[in-house]
Symmetry: C2
Subunit: 402 residues, 2 copies
Amino acid sequence: MPVNRTCWNCGARTDDDHRVRCDCGEPLWLATDPEAVPGEWPASIESMWDALPLLGVEAPTPPPGVSTAAGGTPLVRADSLDTEGVAVHVKLEGLNPTGSFKDRGTAFGVAAALEAGETRIGTVSHGNMAESVAAHAAATGMDCTVLVPADIADSRLAAIGRYDPRLVRVDGDYGRLYYDALEVGREAGVRFLNSDVPWRVAGQATTAIETLAQFGRGEGEFPDALVIPVSSGGHASATWQAVRTLTAAGLLDEPPKLCFVQAAACAPIAEAFARGDDTVTPAEGGETIAYSIANADPPSGNRALAAARATDGAVVGVDDDAIKRAGEQFAGAGLAVEPSSATTLAAIERLRSDGVLDAGDEVALVATGRGFGDDGVAVETERIDRSALGTLFDAAPGAEGA
Amino acid sequence: MPVNRTCWNCGARTDDDHRVRCDCGEPLWLATDPEAVPGEWPASIESMWDALPLLGVEAPTPPPGVSTAAGGTPLVRADSLDTEGVAVHVKLEGLNPTGSFKDRGTAFGVAAALEAGETRIGTVSHGNMAESVAAHAAATGMDCTVLVPADIADSRLAAIGRYDPRLVRVDGDYGRLYYDALEVGREAGVRFLNSDVPWRVAGQATTAIETLAQFGRGEGEFPDALVIPVSSGGHASATWQAVRTLTAAGLLDEPPKLCFVQAAACAPIAEAFARGDDTVTPAEGGETIAYSIANADPPSGNRALAAARATDGAVVGVDDDAIKRAGEQFAGAGLAVEPSSATTLAAIERLRSDGVLDAGDEVALVATGRGFGDDGVAVETERIDRSALGTLFDAAPGAEGA
């Protein structure tokens, strides 16, 4: 299966199915063909495989099992989250098979690897991506290696380990491991599905395609902006690949504003955006409750910067207090999301004051992963005896006729 | 909105929207009208609201938010779970908004309550149902009361409490509370969405409708059996309501075998089935890792018994060792499910030896809730230094050309 690759940055093309980065240093994309995109939005989306044709890439067929179930997540209107006149919709990526958006890229990557006759995959992650890759490998009987930091928490080990991959704790600079693993994997014939490799990016592009399709229901209405957490920049890259292709194919008149959000404690892309830089400088990387997006040296950071600028969007950082408050607001709307996802809601105020969003705008927040309820919510309870149950509603607010 | 109720047991009918149980003691159903069922299976199912018309009940419109996202979960083929010649498909109910099948019944119940002008709901649960009801109430601004046992675990309190319902710890017999709450709620104008009330059952019926629709893709092919965990019997009741209506409407020639599974340590319905009884006798109720289905006095137990008998299905119990092994097998197929869901796979061997299932049968296992990875999986790891990464695949099984 010869697959063309293109560089978003320098325009280079290659037919090497194993290349993931360009000589210019930037990540490669699978080549898209806007002419191959269907002329209209899909009537319904049950999984990412219904959205993928709109990306115009050579798409693999998913193997049976969990990969067929990736994507097709709901987009819901959540009016109690409306902020400063901005109407909020939420894309519930936590309803993917392993609980996060990562299943989309994994499903594409696994399907493409199998079609290429490869049976060995890996990833560098101790979070959502590790769970996702291990699960999809298990479902297909692929050999799977997951590189985790040596000091990984036991709870993370259990969540990944239940799918029984080869788990390797690595001592040393975990950030650089991203590139090392791609190289070692290529030499050994092990396809590393890291966060911004072309197969993963193509799969992740379906989040945006679905969101736009579900918002408009084929009627030509689209959100004014997509607000997405950014870590490595892989999802940002995917989102831009999607909206560029949809625009080129004539399905979108103009792209929505792409707004990316980081935790302020580790926000190298937001800082570069604020400075007006074209490239991202690695950050020191402080602690944050949104640890799953704390990437001090994001491999697709330049790509996220360019995507935000090209669409009149922005990249902003939000602090932990705001993230915590936003997480509680999400729960108050019946939606349990992880702190990294809560950043999207926390960012609206800033995006309004910066003039990126206006009152009356409709935005889609991409809630990338589900919440676990273990983030120290203080819970108040009452206590009664069953024999006194008849008095339960006597003193309750708004009780009537009890 | 006058809504007719029917009793599956004695055939009684009532127009009282607040009645949930018949004078004969059995749970009431919303009346179904097979004439009102569309003449064909839906072309696609994005949520339960696409499946609900096939139940032929007077269906409410969901309020915006999480209720619109209930159901529409994937059905996946998992060939690595095939057992003794039985081909396995899995319905991934853990991909509902709050992580379990309960969202279907809650979404219906909340929508129906709002249409009836009611704003106060409640439930008796410390598990999936409590999370679900609290989340849907939060999304709609409804007043919500959750009755939990006095000795509830902190982790459960946090999972429910994040949606900020009124949480009441009740001392005394928690099993009987099910009925007490219905009575107290009715007097106080608080609609308790307990596990077998007619609104919840109507919503839960969509699990079976979706499964049958997805399996056949409108081509007239259906699974030979549905295998479902049973606790209160509410889901079993719902499943039977669905297949009876679909059969009456001419969409099914004959119902699939309905097989229900309990944990052997607390299996009053399975014991009644084995004895050939028509009614369920309350059990003592021992400890099991599948604690979320350990219901010693199931309010719709008789209904589950009748449904299994009427469809040539069965009710069986499986022990904790088998449940644990089945949970590991699910994970080995990339599917993390809770122990109560793992019972379905554990049951196949028994259903085969009892002659309920045959080699060559295709079954759909309903995995009612997601797994959390906290069930004590032993995880093996290796450890290397980043500087030695080049040797990563040297000694690995199947390594080539490294």
